[in-house]
Every structure is written in structure tokens, then in C-alpha cells.
Symmetry: C2
Subunit: 130 residues, 2 copies
Amino acid sequence: MDAEILFIGYVESEIKSIQEAPLQEFENAPTAILKIKPEFAKAAADLKAGDRIIILTWMHLSDRKELNTHPRNDPNAKLTGIFSTRSPNRPNPIGMHETEITALLPLNRIQVAMLEVLDGTPVIDIKPVL
Amino acid sequence: MDAEILFIGYVESEIKSIQEAPLQEFENAPTAILKIKPEFAKAAADLKAGDRIIILTWMHLSDRKELNTHPRNDPNAKLTGIFSTRSPNRPNPIGMHETEITALLPLNRIQVAMLEVLDGTPVIDIKPVL
């Protein structure tokens, strides 16, 4: 084993299946909530509405064995090495999402603008946009 | 255990200690090499010189227990929740670095422009800049 990822929380979203997920952020992604685990609440204590953030997620339904793919699920697209694509199927299925905090809610919940992530997806990091 | 990270390769850099590392990319970071493990070479097969990429690293020397910090190691700065900072000390010490491929070298080595990463740091993902 190389290293262990900790889940710091989970995404709550109206996107309940991969079929409902837009392929890119700008294609009508809905608002969503990050539910932070109590043991990581202190790390989130200075986040506030209006902050631009990058959310890293763990795309838990991905196929980690896939090393190349047809981009955007287009069978006519050239078979392409995974590291030249944003496919969720990759050795470490880390999703990277830039968005904005729209509200802080009770119980360590953070509401964010457009987020293209399945309901129940683990959150692994939050970073400020520089 | 929540999930396992796989190391897809390692950084080769002239930065041999944290003391030598610039705090941000634009502060004179040197060129570096990503040495991809043979079992992940297929995933890197379509990368080429001139590609703008985001490299995710696993900052293996970080303190994963730290939940707040004084930004930029300034003791006078307000103690701040880690998710509002880019501190390497965080629950999942994932580094995010935007740079450009400058050359492909033999033996699955990828040369990149400015990279603020310690020699020997594991690489966990490579994504194209959109």
C-alpha cells in the first residue's frame, strides 16, 4: 500500500446517477452541499460565503484499472491515455472542481454553487483559489 | 480505512529539502522530471511537449494531524483553518501544481517547467488544463 486517503466529508447533491451528471461544470451543474465530518470541522472553520474554492473529491464509482479511453465517451474519438483526459476512470479517481461557497449551514454543511458531483461522493480536500 | 492512493511515479528535482522550496510556483521554482512507473506508462502515452498540465502530488513529509496554521509560516498571521490555506500540512496532503511539459525523455520521464516540489515526492495524477 502506498498511502491512505481520509474522507473529510461527503457531497449532498440532486445528481443521483452518472447518467444525470453533466460532462463539464458549465453544462448546468446544480448547487450542492459539502457535509464535513465533525472531526475535520476545525479545518473548515475559516471558510465563508463568497470564497472561491477548489474541491477535491474521490470519485468512488470509477474504474481505477482504465489507462486509456475515448474522450467524452465518444467511440469515434481517438483512444487516449488517461492522463491527457479528465475521465473519472483513472488510477487515483480524484475530481477537481472550482466553485464558490454560497452559504454556511448548520451542522458543518457548506453550500456551494455549481458542482458536477454525484450525491454521496467523498470529499478529500478543500483549497482556496489563489 | 477510507481509500488507497496509488503512487503513479515520483518527482526528480534539485529541491532536496523543505528549506530550499519556494513558497509559491512563481518564486523561482526549478524545472523537474516526473518519473512514471512502467505500469502507468500507457496512461501517459499521449502527453507531449507544450501540454499544459496539472500535477497532483502526495506531500509525504506533511503533518496530516494539523487542522489550522499560521499562513506562510508567519507567526503574526491569524491562526487559520487549513482548508482556507494552501499549507502542505492537511488531512490529505495533496499538492496541486499547474505547469507545462517541456520534453519527453527516455524511460517514462517527463520534463516539466517550474515545479515547487521536493525531490522524491510521489506523483498521484496528471490532468490536462482545460
